[in-house]
Symmetry: C2
Subunit: 345 residues, 2 copies
């Protein structure tokens, strides 16, 4: 038995071994290696002697393996623009910080191939766990994460019975609630502006919410005009113009999120249409923008901060190996503001 | 000489050694280790045989050390909220992706201690280089990064002759240009809403820009009312109310950024003040919000996308060891929109 093995069952000495040998905490050993200037000289010397004696290799990988945890959580959000995810992620980060974890964020530009690449990069960089947005992705990715023992939590979308834990809201039900309100006001000519549905389960569920209410009320869902376009103010404007230039323009344009809705509002102004007198416009998310624009935007309020905070707690519990929590369904609610009114005439 | 050393001068076998031994590219070796399912079985077997034979240890740290680069760039921005940095960082990420690098972002909530922690976390996670915002930080941090050979680029603030390379604009000159315009219109009672200046060089330079123009025009800079508050729509509103409830309220409120300005506009509406007839309001940044609010916001346009794109190119050049580029000064320009008019009366 060589010297190292006296301190550990493993042949590679760990941070804990160094700490025990130098009679300090593992935090002190970490500090000596990462920020030696923060440790008094006497302690530093003792720790470095232990490092040498045990042959502990303070390279990044060895450190991560030794401590097992890196106290780093990764999150991949579809975009950093337009503040769609900003408030939730900021709350997520604040709570992680409170719990002693650092957050690293990547943005996939709504591209599955980029998300895949970023998941692998975050795992290679030692992320203890990942937060991902929405359920739609190659099952192979979940296998990849499971093989490596990296817990994952899906946010921004609750799915009952999904194999992967999730925290979020029911996009379909939330949008259906708004659609009920719209149709209660008498609207029968509906237009929808949505992000592409094929790869985005949140977008798809929101459209379904509208369609199901329309069908229930005797409208032909096929007769509802729908434009798909990536989320941006500019795209929202173009899509709105497209809908309004139809032979029978809609009396209400239901937008998949607030960013599209704000673009639609801007275009309405440019086209000389009054909102809501000439046409109603609704959003989804209730980002800060929604209350700031004039007229203020009727939308679905998503509890972003609450979601971010709870997501942090769940993920940290996962990292610490606590029993897995149930998926969490959060409630959304309608914010009836100025852009929704009865149809014209 | 043992078998390993036949393949390398170093005693630890590298990714390159494995690639040479298996007669494949290093990318193929990486792929075998990270995503074995993406490599045909024959190649995979050959690579794994080489891994075993050479005793190559495909753990994360060893991998990072072997390849020397991780193709990961870290960025620490002060906040993810309000889309202040969103557009620039999105462009930064898109360009990095084009160049084959992955971006990991952290947000420091404008707190130097958190930034410090995140810098260390990103370095520990193997970031090849870092993008930091603004110049104000403990010089010790630059030493820490230099010791570890991690290149750093400061963005959002150009500083001539600074020891650290930077890309950005001259915050002072940009704000001075706006102040000239404001005073040309006849304003003599100025109010300023700024982020805390003590730890934020961008905020400080913007205030200086206003003060210097005011002094040049014969105003007593001490007589200019100034409120410091963290960037948020809500805080902008409170600060605006504070300024307008003074005995001699300003005829123009110059805000340190668009987020504060939008808050000021909202509060003006609540207080029954017309903008710009009763009071003018200006911003800084020209985030998407600025053109969307009504009335549209007069502000300083910052070339966020251009800055992000160029920052990516400079940092990647640094990582690749190309000769260091000069710091880059970008031009800003005024966007004279609806919220700035002549003073009342």
């Amino acid at each position: 038995m060589n010297r190292k093995q006296k301190h550990s069952e493993r042949s590679v000495p760990t941070l804990e071994d160094v700490a025990r040998h130098a009679d300090v905490s593992t935090a002190t050993v970490s500090r000596c290696l990462n920020s030696p200037d923060r440790v008094i000289e006497k302690t530093r010397k003792r720790v470095l002697a232990a490092v040498r004696e045990l042959g502990y290799s303070p390279n990044f990988g060895a450190r991560a393996l030794a401590a097992k945890r890196t106290n780093t959580i990764g999150a991949i959000i579809p975009t950093m623009e337009n503040a769609i995810f900003a408030r939730g992620i900021q709350a997520f980060q604040e709570e992680l910080h409170r719990l002693g974890f650092t957050l690293l964020v990547s943005s996939s530009s709504y591209r599955p191939d980029l998300e895949d690449e970023q998941i692998r990069a975050l795992v290679a960089r030692g992320a203890d766990a990942l937060l991902l947005i929405g359920h739609h992705r190659d099952p192979e990715i979940y296998r990849f994460l499971e093989d490596r023992g990296v817990p994952v939590l899906v946010a921004w979308a609750y799915q009952k019975g999904a194999a992967v834990a999730s925290i979020g809201f029911d996009n379909r039900r939330a949008m259906a609630e708004l659609a009920e309100k719209v149709m209660d006001l008498g609207h029968r000519k509906l237009g929808i502006i949505s992000a592409g549905q094929a790869l985005n389960d949140r977008a798809r569920d929101r459209v379904r919410g509208v369609m199901e209410v329309a069908a229930k009320r005797g409208l032909d869902p096929q007769a509802i005009a729908l434009v798909e376009t990536p989320y941006s103010i500019e795209n929202g404007g173009h899509a709105f113009r497209q809908l309004m230039e139809q032979e029978e323009p809609p009396t209400v344009v239901i937008c998949g999120n607030d960013v599209l809705a704000v673009g639609a509002m801007q275009m309405a102004r440019q086209m000389g249409l009054r909102v809501p007198q000439d046409v109603s416009i609704t959003g989804f998310d209730d980002i800060e923008l929604a209350a700031v624009v004039a007229p203020s935007l009727t939308t679905v309020h998503v509890p972003h901060r609450d979601m971010g905070r709870q997501a942090a707690q769940i993920l940290v519990d996962m990292v610490l190996g606590k029993p897995l929590a149930q998926s969490v369904l959060l409630e959304t609610d309608l914010r009836l503001r100025e852009t929704l009114g009865p149809p014209k005439g």
